[in-house]
């Protein structure tokens, strides 16, 4: 089983009030020097069978129609290195 990660972020021009709230809290906690924070979503998909081009195309379609709202969000799709988390690769 392989893992595909979909990261979803608000487009740069869309205001991210959650990210701003986090950014404002950082100096209060003693973490200086962070000029901006954007907060997004990460989806970890455990895919059955091989992650070939066809499987990746399906994930992209899934991200485009459902996981992200492309009116306001961008997404990236990547395969997580096999065996990074558990046992031998399939």
């Amino acid at each position: 089983m392989a893992r595909v990660v979909v990261d979803v972020m608000l487009k740069p021009e869309i205001l991210d009030p959650q990210g701003q709230a986090v950014q404002r809290a950082l100096p209060r906690l003693g973490f200086e020097g962070i000029k901006d924070v954007r907060q997004g979503k990460r989806f970890e998909l455990d895919v059955e069978g091989p992650v070939d081009d066809a499987a990746l195309a399906r994930v992209r379609e899934m991200a485009e129609t459902f996981l992200a709202n492309t009116v306001i969000e961008d997404f990236t799709v990547r395969v997580e290195a096999a065996g990074a988390q558990e046992g031998a690769p399939a």
Binding site: E13, L15, P17, F66, N69, V71, I72
Partner: protein, 225 residues
């Protein structure tokens, strides 16, 4: 023959009973629809009510948009059936691409609940004919993700085509671009708005009865159709 107005209940809807009641007070026949229905039971129009469909998981309205009922609603809306989306219903309409743009987290991050003054900018849609353009009304507003966003080109297009239906007055409650509180599609049969006209149809429970014309408008529209 009375006009049948369907109100869809999704898992997590909470203003469906109020919407059904508003339809009845306006003189229509309220029809309960379940999100798994694909048959709209011969309704003449549909209201997507407020609430938290599917707990607002993923994005508000994102999962509800794929409920079986929405397949039929989208098809019928494109064919001209009047559809009104209130609050979460507005979010569902945007997620369905029946209306442009999207709703995002309020710019101040707080949930807002207040009586909101609005201007009715477009009194020419299926749901606003009983208003006059420029009329000011007060109806309740309650949302956490009510900030309307779209790219500049879309906003310009909405303004140029008179598709901004209602605009916030006396302060923008959630950071909506250009104070937009509600919009319509090009045909004027699909309207979405964040404030809640269905909570302003009776003096006992609402601040005014100024939300009622949304529901009487569509009845006249259908009788005259």
């Amino acid at each position: 023959m009375t006009t049948r107005i369907g109100v869809v209940t999704f898992p997590g809807s909470l203003d469906d009973a109020d919407a059904l009641r508003a339809v009845r007070i306006a003189g229509g026949e309220p029809v309960k629809l379940w999100h798994r229905d694909t048959d709209l039971r011969q309704v003449d129009a549909v209201v997507l009510p407020g609430g938290f469909s599917y707990g607002d998981y993923l994005r508000c309205g994102a999962i509800a948009r794929f409920s079986p009922v929405m397949g039929t609603v989208i098809e019928q809306a494109r064919a001209g059936m009047p559809v009104l989306g209130i609050c979460n219903g507005f979010q569902v309409l945007c997620e369905s691409h029946l209306l442009p743009g999207a709703l995002t987290r309020n710019d101040h991050l707080h949930f807002v609940c207040r009586d909101q003054r609005l201007t009715v900018e477009n009194a020419d849609t299926a749901w606003t004919r009983d208003y006059r353009a420029g009329q000011e009304i007060t109806v309740p507003l309650k949302n956490g993700e009510g900030g309307y966003v779209a790219d500049e080109r879309t906003l310009d297009e909405l303004e140029a085509e008179g598709r901004v239906v209602v605009r916030y007055l006396d302060g923008n409650p959630n950071g909506s671009r250009r104070d937009i509180a509600g919009i319509t599609n090009a045909a004027g049969n699909v309207v979405g708005l964040m404030p809640h006209p269905e909570h302003a149809v009776e003096t006992l429970t609402g601040p005014t009865t100024e939300g009622l014309p949304f529901f009487t408008s569509v009845l006249k529209q259908l009788v005259n159709a």
